[in-house]
Amino acid sequence: MYKFSPLKKSRGIPQDNCKSIIVKINIFVKDYFFMIASKKMLKTKFLLITTLLLTGCSSKIDTLQQDTEHKKNSNEFKIIMHELSYLIYDTSKSELEIDNIRRRYAFTLADKIQNLTLQTTGIPEEMLSNISFSQYIQQLNTQGKELQEIAKNYELEKLNSKIDAIKRTCTDCHDKVRSYK
């Protein structure tokens, strides 16, 4: 006899996803149907319903995860840019030491940009094609590579203008997303 367990990990859904209320409800519903089905021995119907639910749920979960990951990376991106702006606080380090710190931040930013551009797979296809998101992704990707080159070659006098350009790309893309929604 199946034991009712709304948050049982063995259902195939990672425990991390249970943070979201929607995810919790989904698991609860699945478990509920499983329990009913077991009782009435309607395995075929149960499997059909569960499969349909799982497909719908996992799609929703992926989008939510994508959104959360994008937000997380964006926030980290903002924090790094903020930290870059207050390197002026340091009074003891030499300018070359501060350049080394700026260079390390630039590498980290370039990595974050790469992560951000990779995380677009969850965005619906029609959204990507309708408002040319792919162009923004491509532009951001190129800017990330340029940032990496700047850091690699110690061309830190170009850093601020490159970051400004990246900010503009992000802002334009976010504006389009808002208008699309």
Binding site: S85, Y86, I88, K93, S94, E95, L96, Y154, E157, N160
Partner: protein
């Protein structure tokens, strides 16, 4: 030849036919950056003194004193040129904290060398900050009372990637010893460089720095403060450890901590507040333990305003010979609270309140309160 101005996306290409002046560089690919800092500091201290080992003892009745100074303004010149060993970078950095000018008329503070070094491949050669210094510093105007800060000539080998860095550094030695007259002497008999190893970790949750130092203290027929010349020689091994960390908490805020401990650490702690050891009248060297630390919390009120509250401490264990001495430092304690404002890019305005005390071996104590207003612009 390209001539860059710091923090600007623009650069001006000069050619000898168009220029009214010549900038002679040894390599046509050399890129020169000129930058600097204009800074005005206003100190109101009560009593008159400074936030270090010079805090006046038993000076409660002395008056306040207001001082203004732009001597912390800086000028630096950096170069960069590609080579078969990687990018060669160099810097000459100065400020105006050299010979102090008179406040009566012109405040003509003299230029002082801060940094002069090159970095090529994994090597750093020249004068710059010691690898023993606390890498993670606190955002305060007056340096922490336990500051481990030395700037000296060195040869350093280092390697790094995005999440860590290590260095091994051979740095200028300088033995500082307290003689029986309670005066610090520098025998100038050093024969081995101070050797420092450092490792840094940069993680998303914060940074960690750890350094270890070994040094060789030596005197060879040194002259004591009363002009007595010793007729023997002696030496001692000394060491020090320095740990500092920044831990990110609550969005952009962070906690910064540092701890240092060593036997014969001497001048590396609290701006030479404590000697590396004691030299008796027979020329025998005894190293002495010193220690210190700080904790600070940095809080961003918004994107432009930031505060730091910091507590710092340093102390030493002097030879019992100085038990009742009024001139030998025993410990320093300080607390600081500030507010910084970033009004425009590359500028900083800060106001800070600091309260510190110094205790000497006899038990006498001196307190100081300083309010500092700092205005800085980097160009």
């Amino acid at each position: 030849m390209r001539f860059y101005f710091k923090n600007s996306a623009l650069f001006i290409i000069f050619s000898s036919t168009l220029c009214a002046f010549n900038l002679e560089l040894k390599n046509s690919e050399t890129i020169v950056n000129i930058g600097g800092r204009v800074e005005l500091n206003t100190f109101m201290s009560s009593p008159d003194g400074s936030h270090n080992a010079q805090i006046p003892i038993d000076s409660i009745e002395k008056e306040r004193h207001l001082t203004m100074s732009a001597s912390s303004s800086r000028l630096w010149l950096k170069t960069r040129v590609p080579s078969k060993y990687g990018v060669i970078r160099s810097i000459i950095e100065t400020d105006f904290n050299g010979v102090k000018g008179t406040e009566t008329n012109t405040n003509s503070h003299n230029l002082r060398l801060r940094n002069a070094y090159i970095q090529v491949g994994n090597w750093t050669i020249g004068q710059t900050n010691s690898a023993f210094n606390a890498y993670i510093t606190t955002d305060i105007i007056l340096t922490a009372i336990n500051d481990t800060f030395v700037r000296q000539p060195l040869i350093r080998y280092g390697a790094e990637n995005r999440s860590w860095r290590y260095d091994i550094s051979f740095e200028q030695p300088e033995t500082t010893l307290l003689d029986s007259n309670a005066k610090v002497i520098t025998p100038k008999d050093d024969i081995i460089p101070d050797i420092i190893a450092r490792i840094l970790f940069f993680e998303p949750w914060g940074d960690i720095a750890f350094s270890a130092m070994g040094r060789y203290l030596n005197q060879n027929r040194a002259t004591l403060s009363d002009d007595t010349q010793l007729q023997n020689s002696d030496s001692a091994l000394a060491w020090g450890l320095n740990f500092s960390a920044k831990l990110k908490v609550f969005k952009r805020n962070d906690i910064r901590i540092a701890y240092h401990y060593g036997d014969g650490m001497g001048r590396y702690l609290s701006y030479d507040a404590y000697p590396a050891g004691y030299i008796n009248n027979d020329g025998k060297i005894e190293t002495q333990k010193s220690f210190g630390g700080h904790i600070a919390y940095c809080h961003w009120w918004n994107k432009e305003l930031k505060s730091t509250v910091a507590l710092s401490y340093s102390g030493t264990k002097n030879n019992s010979y100085f038990k009742d001495n009024d001139d030998v430092n025993k410990e320093l304690v300080s607390s600081q609270l500030n507010l910084f404002w970033l009004p425009i890019q590359n500028s900083l305005i800060g106001i800070e309140y600091a309260k510190a005390s110094r205790t000497v071996e006899s038990g006498k104590k001196g307190n100081i309160e300083i309010v500092t207003l700092m205005m800085r612009y980097n160009f």
